[in-house]
């Protein structure tokens, strides 16, 4: 677990916004190298790590997808030394004023802050209320000349707040979804010591927050027999108390709905029961909002499931998770994968097909 915590700390302090995942990819690659029999990168930058199974060939395979991209901002205009930004992923502009950020430019990283401009400088319709994104500026404290020389349109802007440990909880930006990458890494470590029949493809996907294109293209390339997305879901917390929120430190959340194969859901439940691990069921009447959306329909389709880690304050720079939930997801994955045998597909046959 210490290793995992270190890795997670390292990951959430690293940039790697959607479509620009190179910095985070190299960290994950380093972590997965000792755990994988084979490692490669997709054409869109998703990282694929294979742990070979012991079953006879041709072996079925399970793909576990955790997206490694993060939300953030991008410079869209430079005026008199100030920067306008547009968003990558969905961000509530009301949390932005006063945030420390890092502007990544060719020559290196520049610290900056998102500022809410003085009222009289705002367009009339923006006064007195929350200032929309296109009314905010980023100030890097440099002279207009320096800014013009160093910063270009398209430069990325990521949150700069540090990760903070508060006992068993961890807070910081990009825990969505690097908490899941950490869980998958832990599972890979456990699976090294636990024999499994099936091939396991651990995939750190790209572009989840924008196009879901990383998972789609990796599933097309790897053609897994089964696919599971690990992502975060809404934890109960201030202002978030409805039935669509789940308590922290009470175990993994299993998705249920059209995006999830009902029998695969049942088998994950059984795995949790074998571990005497508590879990919650998350009804998802539409799509899951995760990589499973595309995993399910890539190429000719695959049975798909969703496992989630409860997380507070999603898509803000102070996301919060309980680290025990991360380990629980890792243990659940390990148990499920290790018990996949040659007859598993019979267990998830559509019931009308039986008899």
């Amino acid at each position: 677990m210490t290793n995992s915590k270190d890795l997670l700390n390292k990951m959430i302090n690293a940039p790697g916004l959607s479509g620009h995942e190179a910095p985070i990819q190299s960290i994950v690659e380093e972590a997965w190298k000792p755990l994988a029999d084979e490692l490669n990168t997709s054409k869109l930058g998703s990282l694929h790590a294979l742990q070979r199974g012991t079953g006879k060939e041709p072996r079925p395979s399970i793909l576990i997808a955790t997206h490694m991209d993060a939300i953030g901002l991008m410079v869209s205009n430079v005026t008199d030394g100030f920067l306008r930004v547009s968003e990558i992923g969905g961000i509530d502009h009301r949390v932005l004023p006063g945030q420390s950020v890092t502007v990544h430019c060719v020559e290196g990283d520049l610290p900056g802050v998102i500022v809410q401009p003085p009222e009289h400088t705002l367009a009339k319709e923006n006064r007195g209320g929350p200032v929309p994104l296109d009314g905010l500026w980023v100030d890097v404290g440099l002279s207009p000349r320096q800014v013009a020389r160093q910063i270009d349109i398209g430069d990325l802007v990521s949150f700069a707040s540090d990760a903070v440990e508060m006992g068993d909880t961890l807070t910081g930006h990009s825990l969505d979804n690097r908490a899941s990458v950490a869980a998958l890494t832990e599972a890979l470590t456990m699976l090294q010591k636990r024999p499994h029949h099936w091939d396991v493809w651990a995939v750190a996907t790209t572009q989840e927050e924008e196009t879901l294109g990383g998972a789609l293209t990796s599933a097309f390339e790897l053609r897994p027999t089964l696919a599971i997305a690990i992502d975060v879901t809404f934890a109960k917390g201030p202002g978030s108390t409805g039935h669509d929120t789940f308590p922290m430190n009470k175990g993994p959340v299993l998705g249920w709905g059209p995006n999830i194969h009902p029998k695969l859901f049942g088998e994950l439940k059984s795995a949790a029961d074998r571990l005497e691990m508590a879990y919650k069921k998350e009804p998802l009447p539409g799509m899951s909002g995760t990589d499973a959306i595309t995993l399910q329909v890539a190429a000719s389709g695959a049975p798909t499931a969703v496992i989630s880690i409860p997380l507070r304050y999603m898509h803000t720079p102070v996301e919060m998770v309980h680290t025990k939930d991360i380990t629980r997801v890792a243990r659940l994955l390990t148990e499920f994968i290790a018990e996949l045998d040659e007859d598993f597909l019979d267990k998830i046959k559509w019931q009308e097909e039986e008899n």
């Binding site: 349109i153 924008e210 196009t211 293209t217 097309f220």
Partner: protein
């Protein structure tokens, strides 16, 4: 190239009905490419360059289709109700002229709804100059394109359908000018872009490229009180960084920028918050395709009078030809 653009914009080719534009391109490119075929959705796929050379399979895509209208109902007095094909803005349509594929001309009128607010499309109609339903030369389901003359203003060109016939013209020129490329270059003229980049998805699946580049128009922020979009007419081709449907592959952006600098071609970088291009579909095809887009800055997009800068157009050709002449390492 102005003549080529003029020819292209004058052909009617709303989404799904691109046949006439496609035929023009087929004729024009005959003898200039090594191969040509039409796929099941109607995309025209042309190819040029060594098949098994050291280079990449590069797909360039420009869309043949334009926005238009489609008839939904004929009333007893000879007026045709209609809906839109692609992103037609109601504010641009009253008084516009349309031409159906069978040659019938018409003008768009509106119910007397007052002039203070924009009239919705369902309160407009097409008047084709007849007085009875039985005389109607069109029927429900017939499509029409907007009709507006091409204007050469010297530095700048104005017409309907510059989105994306100017891209088609650029791609035609590229395919003609490419002589000794190390790459296997697919010039793909796509269908149904305006209704959701549908043609490019299928075309990219068929071509299975190593690199995909869309050639399309983009909006500008250089008109009075325009929002802060940092693209202007006349400042060179725009290299797309991001739009609302995709994030360009950063390696492709860097490669394009380096090429423009090397060849001393002016360029600008583009972040578009409303709209996307064929590159969106190409990027997520099969195992994924590194993708980007060269945009031609264009004012008044999706109006019957779109405007581009002629030098931007020429520079777009130059930029891509320069890029494709050399080996590509992403």
């Amino acid at each position: 190239m102005k003549e080529l653009i003029q020819d292209l914009v004058q052909i009617a080719g709303p989404s799904g009905y691109e046949a006439d534009v496609r035929e023009y391109v087929q004729k024009d490119l005959k003898g200039h490419v090594d191969e040509m075929k039409v796929d099941p959705l109607g995309n025209l796929i042309t190819r040029k360059g060594p098949k098994d050379g050291s280079g990449l399979n590069v797909m360039l895509a420009a869309h043949l289709d334009e926005i238009g209208v489609i008839v939904t109902h004929l009333d007893d007095n000879g007026f045709a109700r209609f809906t839109t094909v692609g992103g037609v803005f109601p504010r641009n349509t009253v008084g516009a002229r349309v031409k159906f594929l069978n040659g019938t001309g018409g003008v768009i009128g509106m119910e007397p709804t007052g002039y203070s607010s924009v009239t919705p499309i369902n309160q407009m109609y097409i008047d084709v100059g007849v007085t009875k339903k039985s005389e109607m030369p069109v029927k429900v389901g017939d499509v029409a394109a907007f009709e507006r003359t091409f204007e050469d203003l010297g530095k700048r060109l104005v017409s309907k359908a510059l989105d994306d016939r100017v891209g088609v013209a650029v791609l035609i020129e590229i395919m003609k000018q490419l002589k000794d490329t190390p790459h296997n270059v697919f010039g793909v003229f796509t269908v149904q872009e305006e209704v959701g980049v549908r043609g490019a998805a299928a075309a990219a699946y068929g071509v299975d490229p190593d690199l995909g580049i869309a050639i399309d128009v983009t909006l500008t922020g250089d008109t009075p009180k325009a929002k802060t979009m940092d693209v202007s007419l006349g400042k060179g081709p725009a290299i797309k960084v991001k739009d609302s449907g995709m994030i360009s592959d950063p390696r492709v952006v860097a490669w394009m920028e380096a090429g423009a600098k090397r060849a001393r071609i002016p360029y600008q970088k583009e972040i578009l918050t409303g709209g996307s291009t064929d590159a969106r579909a190409i990027q997520i095809t099969r195992e994924g395709v590194p993708a980007g887009c060269v945009s031609i800055p264009c004012r008044y997009v999706h109006s019957p009078s779109e405007m581009v800068d002629y030098k931007d157009v020429q520079d777009s050709v130059k930029l891509l030809v320069q890029l494709l002449k050399r080996p590509i390492k992403l």
